[in-house]
Structure formats: C-alpha cells, structure tokens
C-alpha cells in the first residue's frame, strides 16, 4: 500500500525555553497509507490535535521529520507548506472554524478564492457538494444561524472543495448528538468509498468503534502507546 504520510520521531515544543514550556507531541513515528481511515485516539491533552496539525502542515515539528509523498516538509518555506495544505488536505475542525458573517456558499468556496478557478466553476463545485451533503437549501444562509449539524456539513463541504487526497478531522463529533454523529460517520464512509484517506483525532467510541476505521493509534502524554 502506498504511504502518503510518514512521521519520523516528530516532537513539537511550545514556548521553548520558557517556564511554561510544553511538549504536546513527543518522539512520534507513524505511517498513513492511501485510502486508510486512521483514528488518533486518546484523552484530552494527549496530543491528538497537535499531531494532526503537524501531519496537515499547519505547524512544523520542533524535532523529527514529516514526509508527505516521501518529501520532508518540515523545512520547506511557508509558501510550499501552504500549497501542500491546499492541494493535499481538507480540514474538518472541532470548532468548525467557519467565518460567521458570510453565507454557507461563501464559506465553502473560501479555499478556492486565491486560485485562478472562475467564480462559476467555484459555484458549481460548491453546489455539487451542498447537494450531496443535504445543505443546498441553506446556501444563502449565514452560518451563525445554522444548527451544529448543519455547520459541521458546511465545514465538511469546505474541506472537500479542493478535492483533497487526505481528510483530517479533529474531534468531528464533539458538538454533535448521536444522530448527527451517525450521519457524519455515513459521510466519512462515503468519502472512504471514494478513495479518500481519512485521519480522525477523537476520543468518541461512536467514531473509533466503527467498521470503517482501519487502524487506531492510541496516544497519551504526547506519545504513541
């Protein structure tokens, strides 16, 4: 199986050299293969989100290497990291991280603004995703008026608009009830069926006990157990 992401002895330090220095990720090594659904499981503060950030090129490791398609990205200039983030990853955040004052459609199209794709193209792609996620009738609503489940779908649509190879989801069910969580699992199942690689940071059994999950990586105190 093709390895997309390889983490080699990666550590992340925050506030290095200060009294409040912490190491949310310590000496972690792992591999993620194409088409896999991997769960990073662990209690709050175990380093799941920080590791997800490192994998998704949202931050750089203090030590160790992150290889994407065999290329070490830890030392790449910021511009290249952004390019990798845009082309390769789709993020679904725990807090959804939508821009509140704009509409559902604008939020979904946001990753495509700094590209040369035309407005019409962006609109068509956004509509296609909204239809598949059942939020098409909400497209002109501002996101702050939406329910948690609807906001989650908007966040998923935004994560998918670049047609990413890898979907990274940070505690995706944290703000959803059981029914909405099950709906989300179905969406993830569909994405897996489409060949997407999915990495989920969660401590929710409703997610990691699903049959779609290929591998569970347990974390505690920043390390893999």
């Amino acid at each position: 199986m093709e390895t997309i992401i390889r983490v080699e002895k990666a550590s992340k330090c925050i506030n290095r050299g200060r009294p409040n220095e912490i190491w949310p990720v310590k000496d972690v090594s792992l591999q993620i293969h194409r088409g896999e659904v991997v769960v990073l499981k662990g209690p709050s503060g175990s380093g799941k989100t920080s590791l997800l950030s490192l994998i998704g090129c949202m931050s750089r490791p203090t030590e160790g290497r992150i290889l994407i398609h065999g290329r070490d990205v830890a030392k790449l200039p910021e511009r290249f990291l952004t390019d990798i983030r845009r082309r390769l990853f789709g993020f679904i955040f725990q807090q959804f991280n939508l821009i509140q004052g704009i509409t559902v459609r604008e939020n979904i199209m946001l990753p495509l603004y700094p590209t040369e794709r035309s407005f019409r193209d962006m609109k068509n792609k956004a509509e296609e995703l909204m239809k598949s996620l059942g939020i098409i009738e909400r497209q002109h609503f501002r996101v702050k008026g939406l329910s948690g489940g609807e906001q989650q779908r908007v966040a998923i649509a935004r994560a998918l608009i670049n047609d990413p190879e890898v979907v990274l989801a940070d505690e995706p069910t944290a703000h959803l009830d059981t029914k909405l969580s099950k709906d989300l699992i179905e969406i993830l199942r569909r994405l897996k069926g489409e060949g997407k690689t999915i990495v989920i940071a969660t401590h929710d059994p409703l997610v990691y006990e699903q049959d779609i999950v290929d591998r569970i990586i347990e974390m505690r105190d920043g390390r893999i157990r």
């Binding site: 920080s50 950030s53 998704g56 949202m58 931050s59 750089r60 910021e78 511009r79 952004t82 390019d83 983030r85 845009r86 082309r87 993020f91 955040f93 991280n97 939508l98 821009i99 004052g101 704009i102 604008e106 946001l110 990753p111 603004y113 700094p114 590209t115 040369e116 794709r117 035309s118 407005f119 935004r158 670049n162």
Partner: protein, 386 residues
Amino acid sequence: MIKHLKILEFAISSLWRRKFKNLGIIFVFSLIIFVLSSILLLTYSFKKEAIAVLEGAPELIVQRISAGRHALMPVEYMKKVEKIPGVGAVIPRLWGYYYDISTGGNYTVMAEYRGLKDLLNIMEGTFTGEKGTCLIGKGISDARFAVIGSIIPIIGSDGKVRRLKTVGIFTDESRIITNDLIIITPEDFRDIFNLPENMVTDIVVQVYNPTEVDNIARKIKQILPDTRPITKNEILRTYDTLFDWRSGMVLTMFLGAILAFIILAWDKATGLSAEERHEIGILKSIGWETSDVMELKFWEGLVISSLSFLTGLIGGYIHIFFFGASVFSPALKGWSVIFPEFHLMPYINPYQIVVLLFMTVIPYMAATIVPSWKAAITDPDVVMRG
C-alpha cells in the same frame, strides 16, 4: 487576474461584515482629510488670489520711513527719483485709513491717480473727478445702505463733516480688492486729512525694463536713505509667508483634535481583534498563502483609505469653494472689520494633493497591514488557538 478580483470581492464583503467599525474609521479618516485638505486648498487659493490681485499692482512703490514707521513723503523726492536712469514715470499716491463710527468699519481711502485706470473700469456709475464725489466698494455700500446718489458723511481731521456724493459703486466681482475702498479726489483727500500740498503718502515708480526693478530700488535707497522701496516680488513673498504662517497657525489649532482622531483611528485600524486573528488563522489553514492574506488586507486598507481620502477631499473642496471656507476663514482671511464676502476661485495644487495622499493613505495602509502580516506569518494553528 481572476484570483485578484476574487480576493478584492472577498475584501469588500469582509469590510461590509464589519460595517460599523469600518464606517467609524471612514468617518474619522475623512474628517482628518477634510481638515487638512481644507487648509491646503484655502491657503493655496488665497496665495493664487493674492498673486492675481497683485498682477495689476505697480512693480515698485517707494515709501518714506521715519523712526521705523511709514511717514509722509515730500514731493521733492519725486524729482530725485525721476532722474535715475531707467525710471519711466513717478506717480504720487495719497491714501490712508478712515474709521467710520456709524458702521464700526475701517475703510481704505485713496485719492484718484493715474494708475487707477483699470480699477475704475469695474464699477457702476461714472467718476468724473468732480470735487465732493466718491466711489465706494460693495462692502461700504452694503454697510451704509448706500446707492448711487447717496451721501457719505466723512469727519475730517479738523472734526468737521464733509458730505461726499456717491457717484459709483465697485462691482461685486471686484470685492476682494475694492470691498472697503473709497476713492475720492486728491483735493478732497488733502482737505479731509489735512495733508499739506507738498506731501504725498508714497510714490509709484514705473520702470522701463522690469528686470531692472531691483537695481532701481537699490539706487533709490542709496539716493534717499530714509525711504523703503517695495517691489511687487517682495509683496508676493510676504503674502506667501503670511499665508503659510496662518495655515500653520490653523493647523496648530487643530493639531490636538487631529492627533486625538489619529490615535483613535490608529487604534481602531491596527488593533487586530481576536475575531480577525481567528479569521486569518482559518484562511491560512484552508490554503491561503501569507501573500493572499496580505493582498486581502491591502485591498481592505486601500478601499477604506481611498474612500476616506476622496470623501474628505471632496468635502474640503465643497467647504472651501462652495461654502466660503466657513470653518477656517476667520483665521486665514485676516482681521479686517468688513470681511469681503468673496468666493474663491477653485485653484488646486496637484503636488499638495499627492503629498496629502502619501502622508495619510500610506501610513494607514502600513498600520493596518503590519499586524495582519504578523498574524499571517505565524503557524495557522497558533493563530487559531490564540
């Protein structure tokens, strides 16, 4: 190209989302531009008006000075000046000021002389030079409700009243130079102010070659050491300095207010709110480059500052040229009792406008872009976690 247009579109939509904050900034910013542009436009127009007025003024005037003050000049001085090579004609002038108790106005009284020919063309009525008649400016006509045929009583230096008949009124358009002016005959002037026949107020010296004016002035000073030759260029320079000084004074008056506004606008513009920082983090995390975020902030800053600049500048233009600079004119026009109600010609100095643009728009753009740049170069997860 499409990318830049889309970012501009998003910038405008972002500005609209925070419309109350941004409208506040635009209001304050426009107000600063309004004050600054009003002062610049007004000062420049005054200077241009002064130059236009002085265009018809004599190239060289000679006054006598006694104990550092302007004194009457004996007519014999004229003969000495006439002998200087290069001097065309020497014309005596009689003029002074008259305080009118009934209106509380200070008038400029001048006896008719040869050089006034151009001035006499801009009036209603006819001045024949008959004793006991006068020409008055529009300001005096308005203050005294005088029309052609009205009698203007003038109290002479002997305390007796002279009754002058109004035979002409200067036109409204000439207000800037004739508003408080009374033209009378030389005989009446000497009678009213008790001026001896052998004395004049000053003399106008006509010079054949205008480039020789300074040389002639120097020679006059050598022959008549108690005189002060005043060239037109000197007057122009004085006006320049005077209006610069006055605009500086007005600027100083407003400095406190301007500073307070600047601090407020600076604070509003540069304080990146937690929401804005979070938004930058979101944009970075979903694939916006630092340069894209900078472009977004650049457009936002450009839209706000250009809109404010144009609003302030247009406001300043309307204030100066349509409403007669009602806010600043008392300080800039001077302190004569009868204010000329003239309308300034809209003169604009493009250099000043460009300087104003660079002094306001560029600092504002820098003030708004720098904090955004700081947030944008940080790892997105740090920005989002705050």
